[in-house]
Structure formats: structure tokens, C-alpha cells
Symmetry: C2
Subunit: 139 residues, 2 copies
């Protein structure tokens, strides 16, 4: 993933788009709210508006560069599209996000859609629980 991908997506190469892409790829973290990205920019001294962050992330989504998740109800979480499809397991205590792939579940989902007469376009699987670390911390 490089800035050239921005051009490939038919988007002009602008400073906000380059910086936002950098943050998504450089960080050890993989899942960001728009606010997360915005704060990262501010911390780096970039004066980029929150509206632009939302706009650019939405454009990146349309271009297939990032995916948008709705882990809890309230807000969107964005993730760079690198590596294969995967699902998520989330800690309800500390907010940690882990990833997993299960081919059996993937296949079963297709079977279910087919049996129900649906032409499947997408699916969402979130597992919620208490992570190992949080289980240690006083129940």
C-alpha cells in the first residue's frame, strides 16, 4: 500500500490523503475510528479537519483501500485492506480487537444464504467476550 494507490483509485494526491494513508499503514494498531485518525494527525502537527478525515476515509472505502466496521452501535471503525478477509473478536471490557479466520464458518454462511434463496453480498461476524488479560483483573 503506497501513495500511488491513491492515484490508482482516481484520487488526487493531496497532503491529507497521503497523511491519512500513512497513519493507517505505519501504526501498530489496525482498527481506527475517524477520531483516532484525526487525533493522530493533530499529534503529528498536521492541521487537517475532521470533516476531511471522514471524507477521505469514505473515499478510501469506495476505492477498496479500507473497510468500515460497526463493532458497537455508535461509530464506524476503519481498517486498511491488507491480507485476506477475516472476522473479529472483541473484548467488551478493554476494547481490544482480535482477528480470526474460519473457513468452515465462511462456507456455512454461503450454504445458508443459498438455502434461503439469497445471493450473498457480504457478511458480518463479531464475537464479543472478555479477553484473557481482563479476566485476570478482578472479575
Amino acid at each position: 500500500m503506497e501513495s500511488s494507490d491513491i492515484k490508482k483509485a482516481g484520487l488526487k494526491l493531496t497532503l491529507p490523503r497521503v497523511k491519512i494513508l500513512e497513519i493507517l499503514e505505519k501504526s501498530e494498531r489496525r482498527h481506527f475510528s475517524a477520531e483516532d485518525v484525526y487525533r493522530n494527525l493533530i499529534d503529528e502537527g498536521e492541521e487537517i479537519g475532521l470533516a476531511t478525515v471522514y471524507r477521505v476515509l469514505t473515499q478510501f472505502e469506495s476505492a477498496g483501500l479500507v473497510s468500515r466496521h460497526h463493532f458497537d452501535s455508535g461509530h464506524s471503525v476503519f481498517e486498511l485492506n491488507q491480507g485476506a478477509h477475516h472476522d473479529h473478536i472483541l473484548c467488551v471490557r478493554c476494547g481490544k480487537v482480535d482477528e480470526f479466520v474460519d473457513e468452515t464458518i465462511e462456507k456455512l454462511q454461503h450454504d445458508i444464504a443459498e438455502r434461503a434463496g439469497y445471493q450473498m453480498t457480504d457478511h458480518v461476524l463479531y464475537i464479543y467476550g472478555i479477553c484473557a488479560d481482563c479476566q485476570k483483573d478482578t472479575g
Copy 2:
């Protein structure tokens, strides 16, 4: 499900609560937004505020009478808790909601949580697609 369930839940038996429960159980439809419930009440001539609808649905959720889903990002969808746990398959064209149960997936989810060190509390599985009817309607 009867009005006595409202009392069992430790809630006073009030007209809004009775009417809302009636709508949830009488309708052929099973999945309602708060607005859906509100409009049903208005159509029946009941003058119940939208704030009360939200309050009551949230109370019903806490009492275990209804579940809340977040099918698309924007808003909550409520469903009476009758019958066993199930997951959902949704038409992205017409909004139809179908239900399914798959014990293999249920078990695999538990296995995944365990393997990841999580104590599972909940899970969400939505399959999105185009339903049989909508596939007929010109691509």
C-alpha cells in the same frame, strides 16, 4: 408473552408499556425500529411520545423481553424474545429480514473464542444478500 410479563420484569403496568408490547406481539412483522413502533402507535390513535417508546424498548431489553439488533449502521431494531436464539439474513435491496439457526456455526464460535482466550459473552452474525424476489426484479 402477556402484560403480566411487564410486572414480572419489575415494571409498572402502564398504558404505553402495554400498547408497545401488544404491537410487538400482534404484528406479523417481527423486527421493528423505534420509529416503526411509534408509527404503529400513532396509527392506532395512541398519543405516546417517541421518547417513551425508546425508554420502554430499552427497559424491555434490560428485562430480557426484547433483543436489540444493529442490522445496518444507523439505527436499532427490536424484536420480541420468543423462540430460541437465531441469526439473521437480510436483503440489501428490499430490507427483508429472514432468520436462521446453525448449530455448527454456534459451536465454532465458542471454539474460536476459547482458542483466543476470550470468555464469550455474545456474538453477532448477519448475512447480507439479495433475496429471491429481488433477484427477479431486473438485476
